[in-house]
Amino acid sequence: AKPLVIGFSQVGAESEWRTANTVSIKDAAKKAGVTLKFADAQQRQENQVKAIRSFIAQKVDVIAFSPVVESGWDTVLREAKAAKIPVILTDRDVNVTDKSLYVTLIGSDFVEEGRRAGRWLVDYAKKTPGKVLNIVELQGTVGSAPAIDRKTGFEEVTKGNAQLKLLRTQTGEFTRAKGKEVMEAFLKAHGKNINVLYAHNDDMAIGAIQAIEEAGLKPGKDIVIVSIDGVKGAFEAMMLGKLNVTVECSPLLGPQLMQAAQDVVAGKPVAKRIVTEERVFPAEVAAKEFPNRKY
Amino acid sequence: MSGATMAGAVRPVLELSGIHKAFPGVKALSDAGLRLYPGEVHTLMGQNGAGKSTLIKVLTGVYTPDAGTIVLDGRPVSPTSTLEAQQLGISTVYQEVNLCPNLSVAENIFIGRYPRKLFGIDWATMRRDAEVLLRQLEIDIEVTQPLSHYPLAIQQMVAISRALNISAKVLILDEPTSSLDEAEVQLLFRVLRRLREQGMAILFVTHFLDQTYAISDRITVMRNGEREGEYPCSALSRLALVNKMVGAPAAPEPAEAALQAAQVAQGETLLATRALSRKGVLAPVDITIHKGELLGLAGLLGSGRTELARLLFGADKADGGSIAIGGRDGVFATPRDAIAAGVGFCSEDRKHEGAILTLSVRENLILALQAKTGMLRAIPLKRQQQLATDYVKWLGIKTASIETPIGTLSGGNQQKVLLARWLATDPKLLILDEPTRGIDVRAKQEIMDYVTTLCRKGLSILFISYELPEVLRCSDRMVVMRDRKACGEYRRGELDEQSVLQVIAGGGEQGAPA
């Protein structure tokens, strides 16, 4: 039979995580014998819309994409529907009035990731009852979905906990360099008062770790560090005892996406939400898990 | 003096008095003034830097005066922009052509006052009107072409027609003739006379005494930013006029004096071209320049003199023929090659090809020498200052200091700095393309003196000027160009002005301008 053609519009290549995501999808497509039409949107929604339009024009079998933004998809998805091409979302949700515009969403739940980070911290605080922990937060890029959701989830869990006090929050734009720069400023302003760092991704945490070391403090001990993603670098840091925990956010959506696409085309029922399996990795398990990490 | 009635009863249409204007480091105007009557051509005269252009700019709202009053038609006015001045009925052609090179000729004439029709600007009418206007000045060009396609002279005429088209009470022309040839000047004068008859007041700035006496009714002389005096043209002899401008008795025709001793023997050849040409701009030319010789290049506008000069300097690359100089034979690919071979070139377009306006006099002056010396071997600052100071003194350059930006100097003084730029490189051959354009009598005299002195010391000069008498007087030899080729070579004394004009105009026909 003719191989299945999937048009996939990726957000961009703005982070290691995203690259791992791309690689996973490409590899899975190759393995499944699917022809993949890949388009990079360079982090811009309009480019994504253009790509989807061109997929429609090329009459692909399935359109999949990781939306840059939640809103604003009605028009183009309607066009896809009119062309009878099923749409699968990966990684992030869209905000459309008509839920039938897409078949399923495969991906992680950023709010849940934030919650998990929060829960870990709440548990940690319980070990030293009565002690107030001052938290500084390194946010992701202002306005980006993961930054908003990870903040929301974290707040949900930690708010009202008398032991946890948010001292400062600032954006580190998801990068090591900014993470380090902002952490330096935090340290100058609050010095030893900082007990906990919550970083929205591992990269910022790694940057911050360097800043903490250069300030003569011990990351992971003087300042407890909680971060999200679970990239290799985070595991290395955990093995050296510089990072306390990372909440996994798996980019390896490729196999699930191929499966879903094949099911949709074959007419099999597909769940509206396919959640990727994700875990929390505290420093204690880092050494054991490290060899298994793919990204 | 035709038709100009100047009964004492007539009120001046424009009167400026007690005008003061200072720039950082320079007092450009102090107690300057001017009276302008309807129906007269009034010439404003003064040396370079006397403040003529500044006075005009104050009058037309470009600069705000520090003190003083302007009275127009009996009412005090103080225009703050050229637009306001135009609306008051003052139409101006400024010294440097101030038009937009990217717009068409027609548009440059009509911008701000477009003919309109239902859906905006009426281009067809504009084009027709522009052609009519230019035809009055006997110019027949394609008016839809961008202005930058045309030579400076045409641009000047366009600027004039623009000013003429503004129906004004007062018309101001700041050195409009500096890039025009004799015939064009006569044309302009005919138009001016007609306007005078119609009662317009015309203020005219020039450095040419001939032109002054040919057209003006009255003369105001400025010196050092002040009004020296106002005289009816008929009551002021040329010598007296020059004296008043200079402020001291003028030397009797120094260039002439220098030339008396000048009788160069035919020296050895410095440079020779063989069939030097460039497609579309210059037909093959053979000329020879000897050591210590002043070779004049005469011809009408557009006859190809500038292009020949540019090829000799490598500013444009020749695509045929060769230049032999100092043992090397070939064409110059870049100005650097020419400079290395000992050639210097003062361009006719001072503003775009000469002066680097926001750099200081010193920096402008040493630029070519520095380029010749090489980038890595900077001339020590002390030495630069020394050079600049010397040349400023020697050429009598009027500047607040050697660190003043050259752009703030008056036109004539800029030209002197550029001359110094090349003299500083100690060239073997100096090409001067219209070096005396826009320069006052004394400075012109001075420059020609330096030039002839330099020649006597062994420097060769290729001299291009729109002023035929000047070329005739100075050159040891003269080459006449016509239609982009050289068409005659004459030794000193072989020709007089009338016969040269005939050669220039084409053979023996009666082509000399009126």
């Binding site: 290549a13 703005e14 290691e16 995203r18 690259t19 791309t22 202002v142 306005g143 929050t169 734009e173 998801f174 990068t175 090591r176 360099a177 380090k180 400023a185 100058k188 302003a189 940057g207 360097q210 250069e214 670098g233 290395e236 | 870049t334 100005p335 650097r336 400079i339 070139f345 361009s347 775009h352 090809e353 000469g354 680097i356 306006l357 750099l359 630029l367 070519a368 380029a371 010749k372 980038m375 890595l376 001339i379 020394q386 050079l387 600049a388 100071t389 040349y391 003194k393 050429l395 607040a400 200091s401 050697i402 660190e403 730029r421 003299l423 500083a424 100690d426 330096y450 330099l454 010391k457």
Partner: protein, 363 residues
């Protein structure tokens, strides 16, 4: 040719000392000095910090390192200062280089990929081994940057493309190349000596600062001791006239772009070394805009011509101080940009003489 025979005829022999050589330095001219305004802006920012950020001016010696907010600021500003340095010369020739950020990413990636390195534990003693000798890797990274500059230079000076499009090409493709090298991954470096570049200390001061000082010194000397500065300005103000005066305009423009990229390359090494990794996606993102901003805040006109290296350095410090201030004051991240823009407006206005006139007129 010796200087003595440079004058042709006999101008009145120079008996006089250089007249009016330099304007006398008085208080009035001090205020009128082109650097006065950017300095004043920086001083104002620092004053605000002094008032609102406790301990802003504290400096302490820790393990022989100077340590404190001020050190952080200059340290962080170092890459920007380098980029602004190169950009100043480009702008002086009437050009612009928007590929700076991409070159930063490329050179950082090159170095990090080549050095890479691993930690080997030998008898309990950790040792760092580089994949490629560090000197070679650094040379390769800088070489890549210089190549980028040459590319820009050829497009601008040779093909006469408009600088903004010419450098746009590399801006887009350069980062792509960097990502191609790394496969989009962040390359972490495990080689101690490399870190010295971006986070080492020499004589108590950050090593990065010494690099900037050295480059500044070399360029400053070059401009002072050679005619480079004069030629660059001449080309920026009137390229036609400069060419006719014998200046090699095309060559000059070419090398200015090469220099700009080289500076960017060095900045890239610094950034990579500082975060101990190369992030092809994000390193130097939008650095070009900051560099241009620094140059203009320093008083150099984007129309080319007169320029001030010291001004650009001050401009870079203004930007970094502002960033630091925003972080330290606890400004909510969503307000950052508004604050930044307002300060930029204010600094610009404070530098505008027309604004001052208006202000005085009202007062």
């Amino acid at each position: 040719m010796s200087a003595a025979q440079m004058k042709p005829a006999d101008p009145p022999r120079a008996s006089s000392e250089p007249a009016n050589a330099a304007p006398r330095a008085g208080f009035g001219s001090l205020l009128g000095h082109p650097l006065a305004k950017p300095l004043l802006a920086l001083a104002t920012l620092l004053l605000l910090d002094l008032i609102f950020i406790p301990g802003f001016f504290t400096l302490e010696l820790r393990d022989g390192h100077l340590y404190g907010p001020l050190v952080d600021i200059v340290n962080r500003a170092a890459p920007l200062m380098l980029a602004a340095l190169g950009m100043t010369l480009v702008i002086a020739t009437r050009g612009i280089d928007i590929s700076v950020g991409a070159v930063v990413a490329l050179s950082g990636t090159m170095a990090a990929m080549l050095i890479g390195g691993t930690m080997v534990v030998n008898n309990g003693v950790p040792e760092y081994v580089a994949n490629t000798p560090m000197a070679l890797a650094l040379a390769a990274a800088l070489g890549a940057a210089v190549l980028c500059g040459a590319w820009n230079g050829v497009l601008v000076a040779g093909l006469k493309l408009q600088p903004i499009v010419a450098t746009l090409i590399l801006m887009v493709a350069g980062r792509g190349l960097a990502q191609l090298l790394t496969d989009g991954q962040i390359v972490t470096v495990y080689y101690q000596p490399f870190f010295f570049l971006g986070s080492g200390y020499l004589l108590g001061l950050p090593f990065a600062l010494w690099i900037v000082a050295a480059v500044l010194l070399v360029v400053g000397l070059l401009l002072k001791k050679t005619a480079l500065g004069l030629f660059i300005q001449a080309v920026g103000i009137n390229p036609v006239a400069a060419r006719l005066a014998g200046v090699r305009t095309a060559t000059l423009i070419f090398f200015v772009y090469v220099f700009c990229s080289a500076c960017a390359g060095l900045a890239g090494l610094m950034i990579a070394s500082n975060i101990k990794s190369a992030d092809a996606n994000n390193a130097g993102l939008l650095l070009e805009l900051d560099a241009i901003l620094a140059v203009t805040l320093g008083g150099t006109s984007l129309a080319g011509g007169k320029f001030s290296l010291a001004g650009s350095m001050i401009g870079a410090l203004i930007i970094q101080t502002l960033t630091y201030t925003i972080y330290s004051l606890g400004v909510p991240p969503e307000v950052n940009m508004v604050v930044k823009s307002i300060v930029v407006f204010a600094v610009c206005l404070s530098q505008s003489s027309s604004f001052k006139k208006l202000w005085k007129g009202r007062a």
